[in-house]
């Protein structure tokens, strides 16, 4: 670790091999040591329904008592809030929130009372756990800027000092959040050549030669005919779904789909039906009913139906049951939109995402969407698919017509990272990192479960939600971890169901084994202190033999 502290980047200069960096290879004995996943069904006639013998996902149910206590704590929070509101109205307690300008007192209030109630009395008390600023790379280790508040978190001031922490909060799956090395040098060169911006849209004068090169490579990487890239992942969803779907169309969407997908669906004007998260019976039942009944009121047949799913769900850590989705999509003649924001680079033996993870045919996914903000350490998003699809989007996309195209340094970061993942840079750095992420994921998840934490999601998912349930414990967990040198993200209501507050860990190929062990140690201690090891059936520890390679 000390080695990395000097320049703040886990990969230092040039092409470090991860294994030399002290990360120890790990297998659980099920996988071939080269990291490829067995998907051969004939070899395993009893393969699970999703066609992967080791597809294992767990969502341990919450105990009744914990659930009740959690509800109670929200109720108490709300009651205390109401009391304070009364005190504030009486002028005894002081509302330090920003107030509407006195000139606008006669206007209709700008936002609803509940919004400000939530901010005033719930979010405010714990807001030190979000928006924590960092002064450097969002890498395996980060420098947190220390803050303090002298007014009960109404506002924060920076102390001017930083604290080095192990970062298990950033979406830096493959560790390409870098500031030195061949990719960063390429970024510098592109900045100097093209400049920082484009100042035009794709359809006008915003298509850089660099962007064209990236699009070709993305299409090749994903086994698709063509691809188009955009300046923002969020906008890739929200501004392209409306150009594909419209009135008379049906969109079938997973209940936990990301806000950008939900917005895109809303802007499209299509009818939307929601199925239970990753629940294939729910999906199939819904489709059967919807097709038989046709459009609402008129009962005309639907023009077309699009199923929208994500590769890895960023709050649940679950992996979409893609083989079943594809079977259903074929049976019901629907189209499939797959958002690989979190799975591209992070899943599959060579990082090609969830399709490769299951060993499926890329052409079975009609719209392959993903973002460059996570595994690629860049920004923006892409859509890949058949030539007809991509041509159509080039012509009709809101984003390609009106929004500015991506600036050159960002394109370069993504392009050189993609080349690295594909081994086009003449090294095995990319492949090594894909494998390291897999090892880290399996190791970390396994150890957490051994410790007795309730861990959600798939064994292969680098997104690891650890359940805390109670809001107080959740926030305490984050604070204590930060104090001890571990940066961890927590998410609670309203982003999750009210009782399912959780810590959310994102593993990275850049985490060395020492870092992971240190992180585990901290989580173990804090977890013990707070009593958040809720699992009623923790795994037995691994034997030494299977732990080490």
């Amino acid at each position: 670790m000390a080695l990395h502290r000097r320049n703040g980047t886990p990969f230092g200069k040039g092409n470090h091999d991860l294994r030399q960096n002290g990360s120890v290879a790990y297998t659980n004995g099920h996988h071939k040591s080269n990291g490829t996943v067995l998907t051969d069904e004939t070899a395993h006639p009893k393969a699970s329904k999703v066609g992967k013998k080791d597809f294992s996902e767990s969502f341990e149910e919450v105990e009744l008592l914990t659930a009740l206590v959690t509800y109670m704590s929200y109720i108490i929070l709300a009651l205390v809030g109401y009391c304070r509101d009364i005190l504030m109205r009486l002028g005894i307690d002081k509302d330090k929130a920003a107030q509407e300008s006195p000139k606008l007192k006669a206007f209709t209030p700008l936002y609803q009372d509940f919004d400000s109630f939530f901010t005033r009395h719930m979010y405010r008390k714990v807001r030190d756990n979000w928006n924590v600023p960092i002064a450097g790379l969002p890498g395996a280790e980060s420098d947190l800027l220390e803050r303090y508040s002298d007014d009960n978190f109404w506002s924060f001031k920076l102390t001017g000092t930083t604290r080095k922490v192990i970062n298990i909060g950033s979406y830096n799956y493959l560790g390409f959040a870098e500031n030195h090395g061949p990719r960063s040098d390429a970024v510098v060169a592109s900045t100097q050549y093209y400049g920082n911006g484009v100042c035009s849209s794709r359809q006008e004068l915003g298509t850089l030669a660099l962007t064209v090169e990236l699009e070709k490579l993305v299409a090749e990487f994903l086994g698709q005919e063509d691809a188009i890239t955009f300046g923002m992942g969020f906008a890739t969803n929200s501004l392209n779904i409306p150009s594909i779907m419209g009135r008379g169309c049906l969109i079938v969407s997973d209940r936990l789909n990301h806000a950008s997908l939900v917005l895109g669906v809303r802007l499209s004007g299509a009818t939307v039906k929601v199925f239970e998260h990753n629940n294939m019976e729910s999906l199939e039942k819904l489709l059967k009913m919807a097709i038989a009944e046709g459009q609402p009121r008129t009962h005309r047949p639907w023009k077309k139906i699009l199923i929208i799913v994500e590769g890895i769900y960023s709050m649940e850590g679950s992996i979409v049951k893609l083989p079943e989705v594809i079977a259903i999509k074929k049976k019901y003649k629907c189209y499939l939109y797959l958002d690989e924001a979190h799975s591209i680079g992070a899943l599959g033996p060579t990082g090609r995402g969830v399709v490769e993870y299951f060993g499926l045919d890329y052409r079975d996914v009609d719209v392959m969407m993903g973002t460059f903000t996570k595994s690629f350490g860049g920004s923006g998003g892409y859509i890949a698919g058949s030539k007809e699809l991509v041509d159509y989007i080039r012509v009709n996309s809101h984003s390609a017509t009106y929004a500015s195209s991506t600036s050159a340094p960002v394109v370069e970061q993504v392009l050189s990272t993609l080349k690295t993942i594909m081994g086009r840079d003449g090294t095995t750095v990319g492949q090594d990192r894909v494998e390291a992420l897999k090892r880290n994921t399996q190791y970390f998840r396994r150890r957490l479960r051994e410790m007795g934490f309730v861990v959600y999601g798939n064994d292969d998912s680098p997104v690891v939600p650890v359940l805390m349930y109670l809001p107080a414990k959740m926030t305490c967990f984050a604070r204590e971890c930060r104090k001890r040198g571990l940066a961890v993200v927590i998410v609670g209501f309203p982003a999750t169901p009210i009782i399912e507050g959780r810590a959310r860990i994102c593993l990275s190929a850049a985490h060395t084994r020492q870092m992971l062990d240190e992180a585990l140690k901290i989580m173990d201690e804090v977890g013990e202190e707070l009593g958040v090891k809720y699992s009623r059936h923790p795994l037995p520890p691994l034997t030494d033999k299977s732990k080490m390679e």
């Binding site: 002064a135 960063s184 900045t191 920082n196 035009s200 850089l208 969020f234 500015s404």
Partner: protein, 484 residues
């Protein structure tokens, strides 16, 4: 039965008397009651039957329907000649030159008004930041995606503009498109200029508010709508009390080159108690003595505008955008701005580049005056071309060269103007037609060549640009009339 009720009045019910009353009631009355009861029963049952009939498809029937259903293709075929499929590729960009499809030309096509894109200072600032922070932030602002660079930039912009708070987004389009629906909701009312950009239209659509459009840049028409609404509100004061009302405008309209009458706007705001949101993507770092936008240009107080949004993809020459306003207004977006909460934050290097651009404008204080005189020069030179019309304010860097008489076919006119663009490139001038999604625009503007003036253009270049456009515009028009 009515007389039965009258008879019993408020007295307690007595069954025998009730029967008596029925006996006394006229026969037609009883018959009517019976029919009514039968009808009600039938209504109840028939309704439940109709529900049954849609729901009670047998499994086999359902399978059959599923089997029979044939979807349309995912996307319809597109015209293989559409210009979007034959996009121009840029291989080099400087502060006023572009290399397009291998041909170099003077750039009056992109929004690089201040020539910040292509300046070494901004590149160096970006690179320096990249060497510390890397490129992407690997997370939204909430989850360790906030860097001190972002905080400093927000503070700097707020201070520079004299407002309480600024909020930084990672994409220009999503800035205003996220800001509007953070406040305007279903049941609210938005008065909107017909000429607003597509990003604003998407924001309005996402808000699900009721929309009332007024004629482009016509304050009298806006006031008419506001008056109408005031009358409406009087009739229904309860509803009016909870309905939020907004006016959404642009400072300098990208699709028209016109400048909003912000003084009148503020007057209307207080008169009718309607909040004002203004997109200054094109006017920021363009209008005003020190580039502080429309409010500075008009000499009004910036704090009288409730929310200002700015894209950094024009004059600042990078990516992203930000909103400005009071803390009370702007902070609300930190939990409700979709594009802010649910997207990775802006690469810090791009914020640094923008920050450096602001610094440059503070040093080179005559930059805005220079830009203005370039704008005016082009305006004079291109006004009054026979057969054409130049839309836009003389001091606006955006000008739309349009046909004086349309053929009635939008695409044909666009193709006509495109000819000028293609030939201009051969003459060393980079132009572009303004592209729109014809089907999606609320009010599709007429086709145009959109000229974007740049401060770094020299006198020679300005002369060249205008003479090339004048000659080609006349030539293409002549060929057309000869062809007819």
């Amino acid at each position: 039965m009515a007389d039965a009720i009258m008879k019993f009045g408020v007295e307690p019910w007595n069954f025998a008397e009730l029967v008596e009353a029925f006996k006394q009631a006229p026969l037609y009355h009883l018959a009517f009651e019976v029919i009514l009861v039968v009808f009600i029963i039938r209504l109840i049952f028939s309704k439940s039957y109709s529900i049954e009939s849609t729901v009670k498809l047998t499994e086999a029937e359902r399978e059959q329907l599923v089997q029979e259903w044939e979807p349309e293709p995912l996307v319809p075929p597109v015209d293989p000649n559409h210009p979007a499929l034959h996009y121009k590729v840029i291989t080099k960009q400087g502060n006023n030159k572009l290399v397009v499809d291998g041909k170099e030309g003077i750039n009056v096509g992109t929004f690089n008004f201040l020539g910040m894109l292509g300046r070494k200072e901004t590149e160096d600032a970006a690179i320096q930041t990249m060497r510390k922070y890397g490129v992407g932030t690997c997370g939204p602002r909430g989850f360790f995606g906030t860097m001190d660079v972002h905080l400093n930039f927000e503070e700097k912009m707020a201070k520079h503009m004299g407002v309480e708070e600024a909020i930084l987004y990672s994409y220009g389009f999503s800035t205003i498109a996220s800001a509007i629906p953070a406040y305007a909701k279903k049941g609210d009312l938005v008065f909107c200029d017909e000429g607003v950009s597509f990003a604003i239209q998407m924001g309005l659509l996402a808000s699900r508010s009721k929309l009332k459009f007024f004629k482009h840049n016509n304050m009298a028409d806006l006031e008419r709508l506001l008056q109408e609404q005031a009358v409406e509100d009087k009739k229904n004061p309860k509803k009016a009390k909870v309905m939020r009302k907004f006016i959404v405008v642009e400072g300098l309209y990208v699709n028209h080159g016109t400048i909003v009458d912000v003084e009148k706007l503020i007057e209307l705001k207080y008169k009718y108690k309607v909040r004002v949101f203004m997109d200054e993507s094109m006017s920021f770092f363009v209008l005003g003595k020190t580039g502080r936008g429309v409010t500075e240009h008009a000499g009004v107080d910036i704090t009288d505008i409730d929310l200002i949004s700015v894209s950094m993809e024009a004059a600042l020459g990078t990516m992203g955008g930000f909103c400005l306003g009071t803390r009370y207004v702007v902070d609300h977006q930190r939990l409700s701005g979709l594009g802010y909460c649910f997207s990775a934050s802006l690469p810090p290097m791009l914020a640094s580049a923008a920050s450096m651009a602001v610094d440059i404008t503070q040093k080179e204080t005559d930059i805005f005056q220079k830009l203005r005189s370039n704008n005016e020069f082009i305006h004079v030179q291109l006004s009054g071309l026979p057969g054409y019309r130049l839309d836009g304010d003389p001091i606006s860097p955006i000008k739309h060269l349009r046909l004086e008489e349309t053929s009635g076919d939008w695409q044909k006119d666009q193709a006509f103007l495109e000819k000028i663009v293609v030939r201009a490139l051969d003459e060393g001038v980079v132009l572009t037609v303004a592209r729109y999604l014809e089907e999606e625009e609320a009010f599709l503007p007429p086709p145009s060549i959109r000229i974007a003036v740049n401060v770094t253009l020299t006198e020679d270049q300005l002369t060249k640009i205008t003479s090339v456009i004048r000659i080609l515009a006349a030539a293409v028009l002549r060929e057309k009339s000869e062809g007819e």
